[in-house]
């Protein structure tokens, strides 16, 4: 039979000022970045940075909840592979990310709509429905 692994899957909510320290800690423990994404929930941004351990298959997600006007530091200095994830969060949701190592300046997807899944788009949609 195949060796089946039932890893621990953790979602850890942290403050934004702890983000870089936590990312550094996971990197030191040999975690690989698996994904990062944003969600616009209850008028706040919910950012999820998921890291995977390829030996134990553990999955550790760091969750940061911030106001839409708040800034968040880029993790690309520690994890260069986060470049595309952070550019996506910035362009699609309008998350204010500081110092992305390769910033596409909202031109990753070449879309005409500004932050289509972010607060402005949601406000426009509500207005349209009203």
């Amino acid at each position: 039979m195949a060796q089946v692994i039932h890893p621990e899957e953790i979602i850890e909510t942290i403050e934004v000022d702890k983000l870089l320290t936590k990312v550094m800690e996971l990197k030191k423990n040999h975690y690989r970045i698996s994904q990062a994404c944003a969600a616009y929930v209850d008028e706040k941004f919910e950012l999820s940075y998921s890291f995977a351990d390829d030996e134990t298959y553990q999955y550790h997600t760091l969750r940061v909840v911030i106001d839409t006007y708040a800034e968040v530091p880029s993790i690309t200095e520690i994890v260069p592979a986060a470049v595309f994830y952070e550019n996506e969060m910035k362009e699609i949701f309008g998350v204010k990310i500081q110092m992305i190592s390769l910033d596409y300046n909202n031109k990753l997807y070449r879309i005409n709509t500004t932050t289509p899944l972010g607060p402005k788009a949601s406000a426009d949609k509500e207005e349209e429905e009203a």
Partner: protein
């Protein structure tokens, strides 16, 4: 130091089945840096959660990509099933496994054909795609669709495979296996193929880890990462090990995929031998999803992540798909460094890029 210049590559190019652009900084004939850019076919599929309920999103997920269509549907359904906490019927798990492995076979054969075309071996391209047609015929016979076949539903599957169809699958797989030994031998032994692939675009184990690469790209560098070991579908009941090679070059990436085609044949045989004789294909799911889950599945191109978050309403709050090509883009930038200009097209192919997946 020679004079540096920038050469744009793509978005349209003979080796690219889909549009991707990169600016390559070259010094003489050597690439010193490459900056990719996507965004030519972004469709905003994730935004459709506002308009489609969680059941309808199954069909949206399947349309993320034509090649991995089944696996996208399965990954999304597995994620929502975890939120509901439902166990799908055992037969449905085996059926999902069979379709997933048929999908892996046709995806790898498509890629092998494109690779052969990329290095100018057109006859090999025809042969790979000829054999692939037989796999597509099996998909059509069992599901009604050649690529996008909508058999997944939240809680299981909506179609069954009959004993007669299992017999056809078994016979076809025997034929396919026999033909593949002859066709794929060329990739393994031919001098001209080796000269284009061996030692080209090397990624070390450490680079794979640091750059967050996935799938055959990672396994070709000796990282035994295979999400099927997480035990979704019927994989816990099947015997397999991740296929790895150590060299991390284009040739190793080719060998991993060749071996995985044969591994898929073996897994389908095992699944057909163990599939339970049950009538139930789907567990009824009531209510709306309330909770969140990160589901990882092993697509032909590697680890795909499906994140779903619901709040008890029919429409999910968030559905996110992280596709393997998205993860391999940084690895591609790294492997392009210090390679010859003439190898760039082929190197882009070796990550098996799926741009419609990447942009969603």
């Amino acid at each position: 130091m020679g004079k540096r210049s920038v050469i744009p590559f793509g978005p349209q190019h003979p080796v690219l089945p889909e549009p991707i652009h990169s600016d390559r900084v070259i010094e003489d004939e050597t690439v010193v840096e490459a900056v990719p850019s996507v965004g030519f076919i972004h469709r905003g599929l994730e935004g459709l959660v506002e308009k489609r309920d969680f059941n309808q999103m199954t069909y949206v997920a399947e349309r993320t990509c034509g090649i991995c269509s089944f696996q996208h549907g399965m990954g999304y359904c597995e994620a929502v099933e975890h939120v509901f906490g439902v166990e799908i019927p055992r037969r449905a798990k085996f059926l999902r496994t069979i379709w997933a492995e048929l999908g892996r076979m046709h995806s790898h054969l498509l890629w092998l054909g494109l690779l052969a075309d990329g290095f100018g071996y057109e006859n090999l391209f025809y042969q790979c795609w000829r054999v692939r047609e037989k796999v597509l015929d099996l998909q059509e016979m069992t599901s009604g669709g050649r690529l996008i076949f909508s058999v997944n539903t939240i809680g299981g599957v909506i179609k069954d495979i009959t004993p007669e169809q299992f017999a056809v699958i078994s016979d076809t797989l025997n034929d396919v296996e026999k033909e593949l030994y002859a066709v794929l031998d060329t990739f393994i032994k031919d001098y001209s193929v080796q000269s284009r692939l061996k030692g080209v675009g090397i990624l070390t184990k450490e680079q794979v880890h640091d750059l967050g690469c996935a799938g055959p790209v990672a396994r070709a560098s000796g990282v035994p990462m295979d999400m099927r070991r997480l035990g979704y579908a019927a994989y816990p009941e099947l015997d397999f090990d991740p296929i790895t090679y150590e060299d991390g070059d284009s040739y190793s990436r080719c060998l991993v995929r060749i071996d995985e085609v044969f591994q898929s044949i073996e897994l389908i045989r095992q699944a057909m031998g163990k599939i339970p004789d049950e009538k139930e294909l789907a567990t009824p799911v009531k209510g709306n999803p309330d909770g969140e889950y990160f589901m990882r599945v092993e697509q032909p191109r590697g680890e795909a992540v499906y994140y779903v978050k619901g709040n008890g309403k029919p429409n999910l709050q968030r559905m996110r798909i992280r596709t393997p090509t998205f993860a391999n883009l940084m690895g591609l930038c790294e492997m392009l460094k210090n390679t010859k200009l003439a190898d760039v097209g082929l190197l882009i192919l070796t990550i098996d890029p799926c741009i419609s997946c990447t942009e969603r």
